[in-house]
């Protein structure tokens, strides 16, 4: 079975490659790609460019910004669904676990500051180097897994984070994204000038613009703010998920099974 699948795939690939049926695959750039690459960082075309040397971030938060906005909404709603399933769970603390051995705990204690530094670096350099808010958030969320595994679940109480706090911090990130998105609207309402939602720089018929550079440092207008806000939202979103998954089963089962099935 397996050998026949492998053989047929290899044979099909060989036949197709002999016929040259895939055309220019792997050699040429599409016209759309050339347009994005030209406009990603191009100070000569201020009405069109995203002023971000990293073309992927320029597409994610500027050219296709609304796409990413709704992606954030989908992630937000998945976490809401998880929280809704766990709605009746009583607030649990303590547990009294001691965690893993001394060696593992000391090494983890040394690793956590480095982890925070790397995550912050990925977030604030998202418009310059590969990376961005989501990747940085995933990097920071590793800490919450490390805390649960290495120091036991009770360590969440010791570092002063619980699920309501994580939900609040995540909402702060989401509100920051909304603020950046609606800033052109506020500008337009106050001054009466033309501006578009999620607008980054000056357009042909709109004078509104976020600063592309501050003190000679390239910050790419909205891109750095959106990356940092997304970083906050995603890292604490993951933190909520890992905290929910590391709750002790015997504590939460009575609340989750419900009245119908008995305690």
């Amino acid at each position: 079975m397996l050998i026949s699948i492998v053989a047929s795939v290899a044979l099909l690939a060989y036949a197709t490659s002999l016929a040259g049926a895939l055309g220019y695959l792997g050699l040429e750039t599409r016209a759309l790609a050339k347009m994005f690459l030209t406009l990603a960082y191009n100070p000569g075309l201020r009405e069109l460019t995203a002023m971000a040397p990293e073309a992927v971030t320029a597409i994610v938060w500027d050219f296709r910004g609304v796409d990413t906005l709704y992606e954030t909404v989908v992630f937000y709603m998945a976490i809401i669904a998880a929280l809704a399933i766990y709605r009746g769970v009583p607030k649990v603390g303590g547990g009294g676990g001691t965690g893993l051995s001394l060696i593992v705990r000391v090494v983890t204690k040394l690793l956590i500051p480095m982890n925070i530094a790397v995550a912050l670096s990925i977030a604030v350099h998202g418009h310059l180097t590969p990376g961005g808010g989501f990747q940085a958030g995933a990097a920071l969320a590793v800490i919450s897994v490390l805390l649960a595994v290495v120091y036991s679940f009770s360590s969440y109480g010791r570092v002063g984070i619980d699920i309501p706090k994580a939900v609040t911090l995540r909402s702060v990130g989401l509100v920051a994204i909304a603020l950046v998105v609606f800033t052109p609207l506020i500008y337009s309402l106050v001054t009466g000038a033309q501006a578009y939602l999620m607008q980054n720089y000056v357009k042909v018929d709109s004078g509104f613009s976020f600063p592309a550079e501050v003190f000679g440092q390239l910050i790419s207008g909205t891109l750095i703010w959106l990356n940092v806000a997304e970083f906050l939202a995603v890292s604490f979103g993951f933190c909520i998920i890992f905290m929910l998954l590391s709750l002790r089963e015997e504590v939460i089962r009575p609340a989750l099974v419900g009245e119908e099935h008995g305690p």
Binding site: I5, V9, A10, L12, A13, Y14, T16, S17, L18, G20, L22, L25, G26, L27, E28, T29, R30, L32, A33, K34, F36, L37, T38, A40, Y41, N42, P53, E54, A55, V56, A58, I59, V60, R64, D67, T68, E71, T72, V74, F75, M77, A78, I79, A81, A82, I85, L128, T129, P130, G132, F134, I241, L244, R253, L256, V257, G258, H261
Partner: protein
């Protein structure tokens, strides 16, 4: 710049390999009775299709789509990979992750309520 026969064969093999992986994962989603195996197959399907999208945007002998000060814009446009599939895949990864999270929490809840993850047995349950 033309490709030789071996390079063409390897590129085509990669493409069919990804399609075969996607097909096998569809089999896993449809035919396996365990909900956990269905979720695992779904992640494999998502990853195979994401790599397929990256592969379509990929080109040989290229540089990453990051403009550095020492690179000329004309050279950059002529030799960087297509950034659009990468951006779309970034979005797809996050959405796939959200869907997987939701399915894992649902599977966990199904196990708590019914005591099994076997769809054949869940189907026979009443109430």
């Amino acid at each position: 710049m033309a490709l030789n026969a071996l390079e063409r064969f390897l590129l085509t093999l990669t493409l069919y390999n990804l399609l075969a992986t996607a097909a096998i994962s569809v089999y896993g989603i449809v035919a396996r009775p365990s909900l956990v195996k269905k979720v695992i197959s779904l992640t494999i399907l998502g990853d195979a299709l994401n790599v397929l999208a990256i592969f379509i945007g990929f080109r040989l002998f290229s540089i990453p789509p990051v403009l550095t000060p020492e690179v000329e814009l004309s050279y950059f446009v002529g030799s960087a990979v297509d950034p659009l599939p990468q951006a779309l895949v970034l979005t797809a990864i996050v959405i796939g992750l959200a869907v997987n999270l939701f399915l894992i929490f649902l599977a966990l809840q199904v196990y708590r309520l019914y005591g099994t993850l076997d769809t054949r047995r869940i189907r026979e349950l009443r109430g």
